[in-house]
Symmetry: C2
Subunit: 160 residues, 2 copies
């Protein structure tokens, strides 16, 4: 049986302090690349459905940096720098500013499944298993599921 990820699968790596996420979309790799690099598009889908995002700065290129602030609940902010930005692979750092010493290294790749479908693979590498497990226990799946559902809706509406 072929594995499909109509809903995001979020998994803890067994060997290293990493989170893996897999999710299939009815999209091309180029559409998912745009969703992750165009700041206006990114702000429309990232995070839980009841939390809006405002981009503070965003420069999606090798060596650029990014920051966004959330609204709708208690405001908070996330920031990082882009290490690699290509159509196939994005590598960036990630910090929630509520815990400024915590830095994760994130990678997103887009696997073309053919027939207008693409599988997103995302990893997040933390510096300890405690930090990784803290993220897994934080309720992050709500943001992941809501965000990817918002991408689905933009794709269906022809907005991406």
């Amino acid at each position: 049986m072929t594995t499909t990820y109509a809903q995001a699968r979020i998994e803890a790596d067994e060997k290293v302090p990493m989170i893996h996420i897999h999710r299939d979309f009815r999209a091309t790799p180029a559409q998912l690349f745009r969703a992750h690099t165009d700041p206006e598009v990114f702000a429309r889908w990232v995070g839980p459905a009841d939390v809006g995002a405002v981009i503070d700065y965003w420069d999606a290129r090798d060596g650029g940096s990014w920051r966004y602030t959330t609204a709708g609940r208690v405001g908070t902010a996330f920031r990082g720098c882009f290490h690699t930005v290509t159509e196939e692979r994005i590598v960036q750092t990630f910090t929630w500013e509520g815990m400024p010493e915590g830095v994760a290294l994130e990678t997103v790749t887009f696997e073309d499944l053919g027939d207008g479908r693409t599988r997103l693979h995302a990893t997040s590498l933390c510096d300890s298993f405690e930090a990784r497990d803290g993220w897994l226990a934080s309720g992050m799946e709500t943001g992941v599921d809501d965000g990817y559902a918002a991408i689905d809706r933009m794709l269906e509406a022809g907005e991406l």
Copy 2:
């Protein structure tokens, strides 16, 4: 007995794919911070003694980026972005361009030991134990030892 690190100690973490480096200097934290953030100073010490470094770009601030090219053997280059740059802590990404998909997350902190001495703690987090062990087997200790000895000489000469 008090532990001192007159020579660098390079250790493999037992739990996560990380390298730890510890090294003591007759320097203040501010002097070591300058050695790691001033591009003209950095180019004078980084790497093996028989390999020179030329800075291609360097912007040592949160969200800045850096790249340098080596000369003296077969030329190669290293690049990354600065995630955090404070007097106490530098966090940056690191790629050797000979293996462009390999990205490490590096942290350097400066512990004031008093009496004009400072202990440098550096970590390098890889995404697999294989990648980490590859770095440990690469002869990296030559670059580490030679580079820190060059910092010692700059400090003794009053050039830092």
